[in-house]
Symmetry: C2
Subunit: 270 residues, 2 copies
DNA sequence: CGAGAACTTGATATATGTCAAGAGGCGTGG
DNA sequence: CCACGCCTCTTGACATATATCAAGTTCTCG
């Protein structure tokens, strides 16, 4: 699947009012949408977790009037970097990665997104990054001009975008902190904990979590090579902190140790 | 100087509609406010570049009614990480750095700010990072509750915040890309070019630019040590790409080469 | 059951960090 | 105005975390 549209980006992360002392929040932010709120998006059939949360039923109905639901296969793109930003997307099922490419081909994963997260919002005219599914999934897309109309009709919606955006920004700064100051094991530990938290927030009880991202994906997200990610995971396994279940199942046995490592509480710098 | 207030963060970066293929934008974003627009903020005495740009004179007058102007000495904090987020600040003169601290004391500079930039906006209750001046300067502070009132009175202001925020987010993602994928010289080159561009955008013609940030500041921003930053700068100097003028003046002699290096166009990875 | 993809692990290379000494600029005070 | 002292920067030698290269293994899916 491939569409020539989409763009920018926006997402929710930390409960407002919490100080960011903890880099776990970085990754946490990077992978966490507003997965807790209710309301059913009529057309999408999904919970209106991200965008529509503050809207009433009439508004939701209004909103879903022009939205379309699409199925996406693993590794397919939802939109590409540089595409005209014509639609805004809500990821309704599955997990996606956001990627940014340099002129010379170097690539970086900017973040991961889950069911309920919003993708591709930007005031610009083109998508600043691409989005690809890691699993099979579905998205609900809404024309951007329609969204602007909805902003005018439901001002609360615009405020919601602002809040989501500020939280996303805080999450990005956490990630910057992690990339600039964490060593390999700290980054991987923070990533694993935040992945687990993101899934728990979406109602997956654990103790075994999905890990649809490959070592290469994780490495591109954390600024490491896939081998270094693999070595960190092996080290955790040997310490009894985690247990692997096949290639895409992971169990956090000693979460406290992982949190300690992934929170920047010491061990490495002072 | 030290106040027990302040918080979150928000800023403008790239002209809307520009695709982010270029990591220079990262740093560019990180140091660039909306320095081009007019209007004079009555109480501040300064151009209302960041926040107030879309407001008319009456609104500006209204807005400045409760704002206060303060002078800040070099290395003094405007607000600290964790402070209650009571005010929003506009930097009216000078250059500041935004810092984030980990529990174990490791620190990271998440961005630099210049005259016209907005500091400390957040929907949360505490500042997620601290802001310190690098030079002597002045800030204009506005009570946050007052800002919320202004949002209600001038809806365009809220939209402005959203746009600023999305651009800031794009800039953060550029920085993430640079931290995750650039080597030391590429990061320093991107930083220098973006610093020059930020100053040009604010009307400083060059060719000699201020560099009030120390090697340590730059290193903390780029995820490098001060020695590595120093070596990169020395290497550029030896290649004739830059010339240093005292400890805080820098001249970009061969900007094209710096841009090439700092744009992720090759040389290192492919 | 077979083949490919993803992962693991080892050996080695290298970019950057660390430690240390010295030089240069800038401000202060005589 | 000069001189001293501090702070920042520079440069070198060395250490090390991570990247790179290369097999081999395990899982997954057809």
């Amino acid at each position: 699947m491939k569409w020539p549209e989409g763009h920018g980006e926006l997402r929710a992360t930390r409960p407002p009012g919490q100080v960011i002392m903890n880099p776990l929040d970085a990754t946490r932010g990077m992978m966490d949408g507003l997965g807790t709120e209710a309301n059913v998006c009529v057309k999408c059939g999904s919970r209106s977790i991200g965008l529509c949360a503050p809207l009433d039923v009439a508004a939701l109905d209004d909103m879903s009037g022009e939205s379309e639901r699409l199925t996406v296969e693993p590794r397919d793109a939802i939109f590409h970097q540089g595409d005209p930003a014509r639609y805004v997307y809500t990821l309704t099922e599955g997990m996606a990665r956001l990627t940014r490419v340099l002129p010379d081909g170097r690539q970086s994963v900017i973040g991961f997104r889950f069911a309920g997260d919003l993708l591709g919002f930007t005031p610009g005219s083109e998508h600043a990054f691409g989005a690809e599914m890691l699993t099979r999934g579905t998205v609900c897309r809404l024309d951007r001009r329609r969204l602007e109309q909805l902003f005018r009709r439901y001002p609360v919606l615009e405020r919601r975008f602002l809040d989501l955006c500020v939280k996303e920004l805080a999450a990005s700064q956490d990630h910057i902190l992690a990339l600039g100051r964490f060593n390999a094991e700290e980054r991987v530990a923070a990533f694993l904990v935040s992945l687990a938290e993101a899934q728990e927030r979406r109602g997956r009880p654990g103790p075994v979590f999905d890990l649809p991202a490959t070592r290469a994906d994780i490495g591109e997200f954390l600024g490491l090579t896939l081998e270094t990610v693999s070595r960190a995971i092996s080290a955790f396994r040997k310490r009894g902190w985690i247990r692997l279940h096949g290639h895409s199942g992971i169990e956090l046995v000693d979460r406290e140790s992982l949190i300690g490592l992934g929170s920047g509480e010491g061990s490495c710098a002072a």
